[in-house]
């Protein structure tokens, strides 16, 4: 679990991620990702495979074994980079309250 907290200094890393969500991150971006991708299992965003290598839904993990994984069927992706950026934005907003679409406009 990361103790790092996001600030406006990290917006440049958000821009780096937006430019290449599947690329190799800089050390600064890696620190941001360690925070955003960390956290407990409950509520963690995942991708639900609808069609291998082609289509995914957003999903969220339950806390315990035996409970179903939540499938957010209204959120669908056909591109993994798009999915990574969308989840990045959701987590950034949950962590800071900032809307990255506006901050990086």
């Amino acid at each position: 679990m990361s103790r790092y907290r996001l600030s406006d200094e990290d917006l440049k890393y958000a821009a780096e991620f937006k430019a290449d969500p599947l690329g190799t991150p800089s050390p600064g971006l890696q620190r941001v990702l360690n925070l955003l991708r960390g956290g407990p299992k409950k509520g963690k965003y995942v991708l639900i495979v609808k069609e291998p290598f082609r289509r995914w839904n957003l999903g969220r993990m339950p806390e315990s074994r035996g409970e179903p994984i939540e499938i957010i069927s209204e959120v669908e992706y056909t591109d993994l980079a798009e999915a990574e950026w969308d989840v990045f934005k959701r987590r950034w907003k949950a962590s800071t309250g900032q809307d990255l679409d506006q901050e990086l406009a």
Binding site: P25, L33, R37, G38, L47, I48, V49, P52, F53, R65
Partner: protein, 743 residues
């Protein structure tokens, strides 16, 4: 949906043999079955394309579908107990170390009359307090609880008794280490109003569960139980508070779990000799209440290992009925096969190996199907239980249909990458259950950007490569190596491993070493091989034990005092901690893992050595493998490198190495004696894959790639690439009987 599940009784059989197929269908009427040969299991549209070959063999059908349940949860059972006489006073007692008190009612000991409702039960109630219940023949029951929950991971002497004279139920929980203010030492009694009854013979005594109406056992206990006893009398005051002081008179049964630790039998040391059996393999060879750190091996002090750790999610053998049998034709070639089951859009594959007939070889090459490693990873919950998987893979975790199924069906059992519901480590893994990840077409979590394959399906990259070479090959499984020794490899000109043969028993290792000592040639086409020591059970089929002692990359450490396997008494852990580092066998050993992107190899100066000119015939270099389905490079996922201190032979040539990995690649804990900054793949020199070659005595040789990702690059540009060329060159020379020069 995953509505068809299946498994087979064997993982390997020869032509002329037979395989029993056990199937369960959920909500389906019927299914069709056919036998297929597995060629290429990768369904990545960027890959070479999925391939299977249907075998012309009538398996009958369509078969009627039926549901066969999985009853997870371990317990002990002894049948034919003396008649339950509720006209006499009666007591139960056991030492317990609960791990999940408060998580539902959990039975410690039950004594039941199968012909009526008469029963006694000592248990933890829903709140986690010790309770005692009596039920008369007609079903009326009464119970008493101390009302105070026990603390987890602490030893208690638990007693319950029924005084027939005063009609009093008494329950006593005594902590063996008293703690001020803890208020967990309690006794309570009550007069009950139910009548007495005398039940017939054939009583059933269960330990860590009681019988259920819809399944054989319910109320599973989580934690350790030691020295359970039943008395046809009341306990005296001294017996109630002091362990091991109970007198032997009027014993109905007293099991000593320190006897027969390597078995699934429990021994009753009372005159009644009510020996019983364990169901679903609870953990044995675990420390009991007497353990004090003086002795760490159960074989040297049985008294300190007189406990059994039961879990409500233990699973050994589903014990499903056989649906049909596949008679393997005498003409069937050795290979990797699967029974393909289908009902509409529902499909399930249950794979197995067809090995050559015993004592024969049908090809010059043997591929060792790493079935012990498949069992180690069987139904692993790395993607669904471990929240760090996203960080270590560097991308969102993708949930495939089997992941959704495993999340809601944890009864399918655990792997060596999981912990039990109570947080304790998994010591045993079995193949006598559906292994949903061991199927062609399945996508994993740790296989890197690209196809993301792991274990069985990743190994089909090797099968497909051999296929396109039109190279005849035999398939030998880990179990064949274990059971039959080095003779199963005798005479093969070359032996090929899988991509990740991580788990090896001493028998398997001896077999492979003997093959090399006799002049064999080994192609180790993977990474992190020969890492953990595992033990096959001496008599129970289809199950292995692994305790990850000392260090190594692991989900859990076994607790102190539990570094020896219960199956065999072997010291466990890394092979390098057992004096047989993989470097001795294949020149290299595990140094790092990371699961995002793989890297290319860069040829070294040594690659131009005349000794290895055959390997690089037609290869330009210096960059090799900057492509692939397993992370986009040939060097990745788990990496091995040389280390002469761990036994890399002095004649080893390092032919190529990877130069840079992401910081998601980290050093292994066993190499991290004194942590310091710069341990990631962008900085630490140790984080690299090394491709090596060395000659062995008697004209043999070893070629090792040092990377799980290597075989994901084989199919690039229709197998016309440097990775396939190098691998093919090695195979071609290894098939040439001309001895390698002995230096």
């Amino acid at each position: 949906m995953t509505r068809i599940l299946a498994y087979t009784d064997q993982i390997s059989s020869a032509p002329g043999g037979s395989i029993q197929v056990k199937v369960s269908c959920d909500g389906l009427d019927q299914y069709d079955a056919r036998l297929i040969r597995v060629i290429q299991g990768d369904v990545n549209p960027s890959g070479p394309g999925y391939r299977e070959e249907v075998v012309d063999l009538d398996l009958g059908g369509p078969n009627p579908a039926r549901f066969q349940p999985i009853h997870a949860g371990s317990y002990g059972i002894a049948e034919s107990a003396p008649p339950l006489d509720m006209g006499k006073s009666f007591s139960m007692q056991a030492l317990i170390w609960p791990t999940l008190p408060g998580r539902g009612p959990q039975t410690i000991l039950s004594y039941e009359d199968p012909n009526s409702s008469a029963a006694f039960r000592l248990y933890l109630d829903a709140a986690g307090a010790l309770a005692f219940q009596v039920t008369e023949s007609q079903g009326d029951s009464d119970s008493i609880s101390t009302g105070s929950p026990l603390f987890g991971q602490r030893w208690y002497l638990a007693s319950g008794e029924y005084d027939v004279v005063s009609r009093t139920l008494t329950v006593i929980q005594v902590p063996l280490i008293s703690t001020p203010q803890a208020q967990d030492r309690l006794k309570d009694s009550k007069v009950v109003t139910i009548g007495t009854a005398k039940a017939g013979p054939d009583g059933v005594i269960m330990i860590a569960a009681h019988s259920g109406s819809e399944r054989p056992a319910v109320g599973h206990f989580n934690g350790r139980i030691e020295a359970p006893k039943l008395f046809a009398r009341l306990l005296d005051e001294h017996e109630k508070v002091n362990p091991d002081t109970a007198k032997s008179q009027d014993l109905i049964a007293a099991w000593d779990f320190s006897v027969g630790i390597s078995t699934d039998t429990i021994i009753d040391v009372s005159d009644n000799q009510l020996n019983g059996r364990l169901v679903n393999l609870p953990a044995r060879g675990v420390t009991g209440y007497l353990w004090n750190g003086d002795e760490h091996c159960w074989k040297n002090n049985f008294d300190h290992y007189a406990a059994i750790h039961f879990h409500d999610d233990d699973l050994y053998d589903c014990e499903w009925e056989t649906d049909f049998e596949v008679k393997l034709p005498d003409s069937l070639n050795s290979g990797v096969y699967a029974v393909h089951l289908q009902s509409g859009s529902e499909v399930y594959y249950t794979p197995f190996a067809v090995r050559p007939p015993r004592g024969n070889r049908s090809a010059p090459v043997a591929f060792i199907l790493p079935t012990a490693s498949y069992m180690a990873y069987a139904n692993n919950r790395i993607g669904i239980d471990v929240p760090e998987t996203e960080i270590v893979t560097g991308r969102l975790v993708q949930m495939n249909p089997i992941d959704l199924f495993m999340q809601t069906h944890p009864e399918i059992g655990l792997s060596f990458y999981d912990v039990h519901n109570d947080g304790s480590g998994v010591y045993y893994s079995s193949r006598l259950r559906p292994i949903v990840q061991m199927q062609p077409k399945q996508i994993g979590h740790l296989g890197g950007v690209g196809s993301n394959l792991w274990q069985f399906n990743a190994d089909t990259h090797i099968l497909a490569w051999l296929e396109q070479l039109e190279q005849p090959f035999d398939v030998i499984t880990d179990e064949d190596l274990e059971k039959e020794g080095s003779q199963v490899l005798d005479g093969y000109r070359a032996v090929i491993t899988g991509t990740h043969p991580e788990y090896y028993s001493v028998g398997m290792l001896d077999s492979l070493q003997s093959y090399l000592n006799a002049g064999g040639r080994l192609m180790y086409l993977g990474g992190n091989g020969f890492y953990w020591r595992v033990s096959f059970h001496p008599t129970l089929p289809g199950v292995i034990e692994c305790r990850k002692s000392e260090d190594g990359i692991r989900v859990y450490p076994p607790p102190p005092g539990e570094f020896y396997a219960s199956f065999t008494g072997e010291y466990t852990g890394l092979w390098r901690r057992n004096g047989r580092a993989p470097n001795e066998l294949v020149g290299i050993g595990m140094v790092s893992q990371g699961f995002d992107c793989s890297s290319p190899f860069i040829l070294t100066e040594a690659s131009r050595d005349a000794r290895v000119s055959f390997i690089f015939d037609g290869v330009e270099g210096p960059v090799v493998g900057d492509y692939g389905l397993s992370g986009g490079g040939a060097a990745g996922l788990e990496l091995d490198a040389t280390n002469h201190a761990w036994g890399t032979p002095p004649n080893t040539l390092v032919l190529a190495t990877s130069k840079r990995h992401s910081d998601l690649y980290l050093m292994t804990p066993e190499d991290m004696d004194d942590p310091a900054p710069g341990l990631g793949g962008t900085e630490a020199e140790i984080i690299r894959a090394e491709m090596v070659f060395f000659e062995t005595p008697k004209g043999g040789a070893v070629f090792s790639t040092g990377s799980i990702a290597w075989c994901g690059s084989l199919s690039h540009i229709n197998y016309s690439n440097d990775v396939a060329r190098i691998t093919g060159n090695v195979l071609k020379r290894f098939l040439d009987p001309t001895p390698f020069p002995v230096m």
